[in-house]
Symmetry: C2
Subunit: 347 residues, 2 copies
Amino acid sequence: MNQNKNNNRRLVLASRPTGQPVASNFRLETADIPRPGENQLLLRTVYLSLDPYMRGRMNDAPSYSPPVKLNAVMCAGTVSRVETSRHPDFHPGDWVVNSGGWQDYAVADAKDVRKLTGDILDHPSRALGILGMPAFTGYMGLMDIGQPKSGETLVVAAASGAVGSVVGQVAKLKGCRVVGVAGGKEKCRYVTETLGFDACIDHRDANFARLLADACPHGIDIYFENVGGAVFDAVLPLLNTSARIPLCGMIAHYNSQGLDEGKDRLPLLESILLRKRIRLQGFIIGQDYGHRYQEFIDAMQPWVSTGKVRMREDRVEGLENAPQAFIGLLEGKNFGKLIVRVGDDNL
Amino acid sequence: MNQNKNNNRRLVLASRPTGQPVASNFRLETADIPRPGENQLLLRTVYLSLDPYMRGRMNDAPSYSPPVKLNAVMCAGTVSRVETSRHPDFHPGDWVVNSGGWQDYAVADAKDVRKLTGDILDHPSRALGILGMPAFTGYMGLMDIGQPKSGETLVVAAASGAVGSVVGQVAKLKGCRVVGVAGGKEKCRYVTETLGFDACIDHRDANFARLLADACPHGIDIYFENVGGAVFDAVLPLLNTSARIPLCGMIAHYNSQGLDEGKDRLPLLESILLRKRIRLQGFIIGQDYGHRYQEFIDAMQPWVSTGKVRMREDRVEGLENAPQAFIGLLEGKNFGKLIVRVGDDNL
């Protein structure tokens, strides 16, 4: 069953995952299409963004945002079209960005959505990628915490992904040597040939740590941390004095249960941060930088228009395929920004 | 044998410690008094500063400063008097701060020493404590990385010590709730009654973690990290969103050999830093903030003169007692800023 005008398909959290999510953690339901109240809009989902942070929301654990409740619709940023408006600033057919979740229809307060206007209407899904949350994350973490200076070396993992690709391209524009990390030869080739990184190392290579060191002959000044795990391990000994580590994700650990086996490296990390006078700082884009969105758009829009910063979209068709696509995302199976096309662009 | 005019007693690094230093790692030697060259000074050590960072210099490992070489004089900041000057700006009897090391006499380039003038001449040893490196460390780490705001809660360990006591007192002046951690009832009483902290928890108490939580009912906004170990463990779950952690030392780990036993908490730390958007930043006072010394003095001098910021000195008499005093420092046996009086104040 495709998106239709008669009812609302929605994917709810059926059970909480233990480790890697499985298909049975999600349940596809059919419900009535909701009705907007005063100053509200009925929105039809066209594009749905799948992002690693959603794994955290599936846990019943304290985090920076409340968890998704059992039997509630999975959260997600969406690009939608207005079906019904009960607010004077919006009209049927308008394109908006909203937090619609994994479903066909959502009701939102008009104040909580952003209308899309101008050039982006040629590519509305960019509002979930290169002109949306992932790029905003990469840009602000890089500029505010990473503070790139010409001639420095930056390393970023998931380099072909939504955040990593922006971090690397912007750092190149700022004059850095940029080394990406990605999974597989095809992604690595894309990162160097299309995105223009100076090098890209395959983290599946048995000699990964040595290859990374070879690609960073002058050490690492900025490590944009969005994965954790083995990449961080290989980066640690290469960090230069006064390095900066913006920390926006650690997908390698999202599925882990409790503490990892092995020796405790927390004191080792502290020791490295101390000796090398390193700044390690976590951030959450909306909460830390939500008020600086316009600054991001003013910088990014011209780069996007002139092709200086690009982002590959990995599109999946159909809401019903969102769970499998999301599971694949956590395994690195996507190639670029993962977007689910839920409904027709046209009315 | 005391300090004399005929030869130079000096303590050299006889062997590198494995874990906790022992007396046999040091050797007391007698040598000729060195002669100053052009633009140099012969300096007689009066006060010698013992500080935790010296433990790191005893290792033959890469650090932010080169290690002390075997059979070389142990490094230390000193307050000295000029015996012989071959530079026009200095005269016999002048008081200076220099890096004289654990010995009676040192030769220094005039450009590498700082002359003491004004009120501090009433208490020259303050140039090693409340108006010297430890206070400078506490002040800059607190102000630049900690960024205290009125109403926030700050926790600092080794609260009766040189760095911790300054951090807490300055944070109080900035309007924070200040909770110290110290070893033993006597130190804790001093921290609250004399230094004016709001609370001080004994880290030897079996209920330490619970007592710390009780003393921080609104969580922790700034944790000034100068010890590592069990204190950091108890602090981690109490950290608030957007907390800051200036990291200037980790005495609890200075004697450790390789990685600690137990589960790997590095991913846990990253996860906390991410979820709570925390800034953790190592710094080394001279290298990061050396150029801001005057700013520190301008702020601290009035507080010291008016008694708003105090530092207890723990004085040991005689160069020959420096090794045992230093070993005790690493075990928390000192009470206040540890200073060795090596020679007479008077000429």
